[in-house]
């Protein structure tokens, strides 16, 4: 892989920054410069740490910044490269990791008070792979508590702001990873996607996010939300960068019994092929149920224009119907809380994290658990645990959880039928652009509706990508979703890279070039520079 020509003088400019600012460069371009010896990892990592110090006061994308560890890794990689050691293609390229992924020796909170100050004693498999590839970890990114939310407003540690408009949400639950990448604090980040938590933040921040096929990336070391839905994946600014990162973290892991027993497909090759802009013979299915009513006019307009671009690239556009998708949201909000209520039982104040003793009466384990969970969990987490407990309780199980599992079958059948007629399916990623902070906080159902187009993929385990396809009438980014059959992730990269290349040729550069400059502050530097601080 190290010898592959990745960025170069590509006519579309899809992968290269042109400002000379290291934080504007794609991971592919950074990797080439590092391999060629024109940049060192210390220079690249320091540039991103400086950017974090400058704009964190505006964005608050990070819960923990690991200045010293990141630079130590960078120095090590530079020394190994100088010694002529063969290195991974992304060696020396820094990355941010969502705080739901455990990192040995680095605080991990999942955005919850119940894990405040907890330092994991082991690494998630995907983190092990990042470290083995020699990628400096810049820090841990903000998120909705235990990944429950679509706006990052449910973090116990404060909001993250959208780099396009600081008064708006960066999406969720992985708003921190998306804002860090969109705000040029990190060239790459890791997200997790249970119902859209990689793709929806990508859509509203003008970045690229990929949810791999379920089982494609190990879940070992992910703090589980809903085990049958969770999947980690790349958050980047280009399709090619996602492919590069996906190849690092993907592949079988014997510590995850749901891990696919096979290597990842030819993802980078597919992205490079896609960048030629030729999609002759590719059948693109437009899902009738994921468009139209309820979608913002600007979102629909950009979607229709993107279909024209794909048509122009030689793709055949077909209409497909997935009649059970309209029930997917309801099924999801039964399956997810049910699994979450079980997964979050481990936060009981006994073995790690917060322990709260009741203020009166006997101090028994049971009463400590209830006091700890009452104080340690936020509103949304309580809401979903209680909902899950209800859906699983005697007398309601068949009507709720049992029925939701049947809907899951019907959604899978819809996908199977649709993929007989199309190689990939497409839709807008989210029904609207980024909404204002606070706008939907008091209306849980309105918040849940954000995930209407992303949830079906999680229920069926199929892979999905969101990439930016323009600005809506409000000047905010819109996301285009591509879905592929399980174990055919490479199709996302081919179609995504083609669309990206053709759109950027129209725009004259990446969409993020049009994002406003973020206010920088020296004050921000002093707060985030404190190593080990969880803000």
């Amino acid at each position: 892989m190290a010898g592959r020509h990745l960025a170069g003088e590509d006519a579309t400019g899809a992968a290269t920054g042109s400002t000379g600012d290291l934080t504007r460069m794609s991971a592919a371009a950074l990797a080439e410069a590092l391999a060629a010896g024109t940049l060192t990892s210390v220079e690249v990592t320091q540039a991103h740490l400086d950017r974090i110090d400058a704009v964190e006061g505006s964005l608050h994308a990070f819960l923990h910044v690991a200045h010293d560890e990141a630079l130590a890794t960078a120095r090590d990689v530079d020394a190994r490269r100088a010694a002529g050691e063969p290195l991974h293609a992304l060696a020396g390229v820094p990355i941010a990791v969502k705080d739901v992924v455990v990192t040995k020796g680095m605080p991990t909170t999942a955005g919850s008070r119940i894990l405040e100050g907890w330092v994991p004693p082991y690494d998630a498999t995907l983190v092990e792979r990042l470290r083995a590839a020699g990628m400096p970890i810049l820090g841990k990114t903000n998120m909705d508590e235990f990944a429950m939310g679509s706006s990052t407003e449910h973090s116990a540690y404060g909001n993250t702001h959208n780099p396009w408009d600081l008064d708006r949400i960066p999406g969720g639950s992985g708003g921190g990873s998306a804002a860090a990448v969109g705000g040029f604090e990190a060239p790459l980040a890791i997200g997790t996607d249970t119902g859209g938590s990689i793709r929806q933040p990508a859509a509203v921040t003008g970045t690229v996010g990929v949810k791999p096929t379920y089982g494609g990336v190990s879940r070992y070391g992910l703090i589980a939300l809903a085990s049958s839905l969770d999947q980690a994946g790349p958050v980047t600014r280009t399709v090619l960068d996602s492919a590069l990162l996906h190849e690092v973290i993907g592949g079988h892991d014997r510590r995850d019994s749901t891990s696919l027993p096979e290597p990842v497909g030819p993802l980078v090759e597919s992205a490079l092929r896609g960048r030629t802009g030729d999609l002759t013979g590719v059948r693109v299915g437009v899902v009738t149920e994921l468009n139209g009513e309820g979608y913002q006019p600007g979102v629909r307009a950009r979607f229709d224009e993107s279909l024209d671009v794909l048509r122009g690239a030689g793709a055949e556009i077909v209409e497909v119907s997935c009649p059970h998708f309209e029930y997917a949201l309801a099924a999801y909000y039964l399956i997810l809380p049910s699994e979450a209520s079980s997964n979050l039982a481990k936060f009981d104040g006994m073995r790690f994290g917060l322990r709260v003793e009741p203020t009166d009466g006997p101090v028994t384990a049971e009463r400590v658990m209830a006091a700890t969970r009452g104080q340690g969990f936020g509103d949304e987490v309580k809401r979903r645990i209680i909902l899950g407990t209800y859906a699983l309780s005697a007398g309601y199980y068949d009507a709720y959880y049992g029925s939701a599992q049947k809907v899951r079958t019907l959604v899978q059948r819809d996908f199977t039928a649709a993929f007989e007629r199309a190689d990939v399916l497409v839709s807008p990623t989210a029904p609207t652009t980024a909404f204002r902070l606070g706008e939907k906080l008091d209306d849980p159902m309105a918040m849940y509706l954000n995930d209407v187009a992303t949830i079906p993929a999680n229920l069926a385990g199929v892979p999905g990508m969101s990439l930016p396809n323009g600005l809506s009438d409000d000047g905010l980014p819109v996301g285009f979703q591509i879905l592929a059959p399980a174990r055919a992730d490479e199709r996302l990269y081919r179609v995504g890279a083609a669309l990206e290349a053709l759109l950027e040729a129209q725009w004259g550069g990446p969409l993020l070039d049009r994002a406003p400059e973020l206010p920088t502050s020296a004050a921000a530097a002093t707060t985030t520079a404190a190593e080990g601080s969880v803000r």
């Binding site: 749901t258 309801a330 039982a345 009981d348 006994m350 658990m369 209680i386 209800y390 899951r408």
Partner: protein
């Protein structure tokens, strides 16, 4: 279908071991009622002839070789514990006294 009132929320919170304040009980009862009413529509299409799916992948009986390996050191496992004693987790009283 059924509605969720304050008493029901209190019962569920007990099952889930979460202390809720009076305000939380009232608020959650209202919110959960709306959510449950909305998600209950799954029963419209969940007919008896449709099999349930619990998992997206057809993987069954996944085993790995039974090879001894170094476990997490005890000190590391206990490092994040609220309380530890003699190489074990120290927890509050579990059983009622007679």
């Amino acid at each position: 279908m059924s509605t969720i009132n304050r008493d029901e929320v209190a019962r569920l919170a007990g099952l889930a071991r979460i202390d809720l304040t009076q305000d939380e009980l009232t608020r959650l009862a209202g919110e959960l009622d709306v959510i449950v009413e909305s998600v209950a529509r799954v029963s419209e299409i969940a007919t008896p002839d449709v099999p349930a799916t619990s998992h997206p992948l057809p993987l069954t009986n996944v085993y790995r070789d039974d090879v001894p390996e170094e476990p997490l050191p005890v000190a590391d496992a206990l490092a994040g514990a609220p309380s530890a004693e003699g190489g074990r987790f120290a927890v509050p009283q579990i059983l009622e006294e007679d």
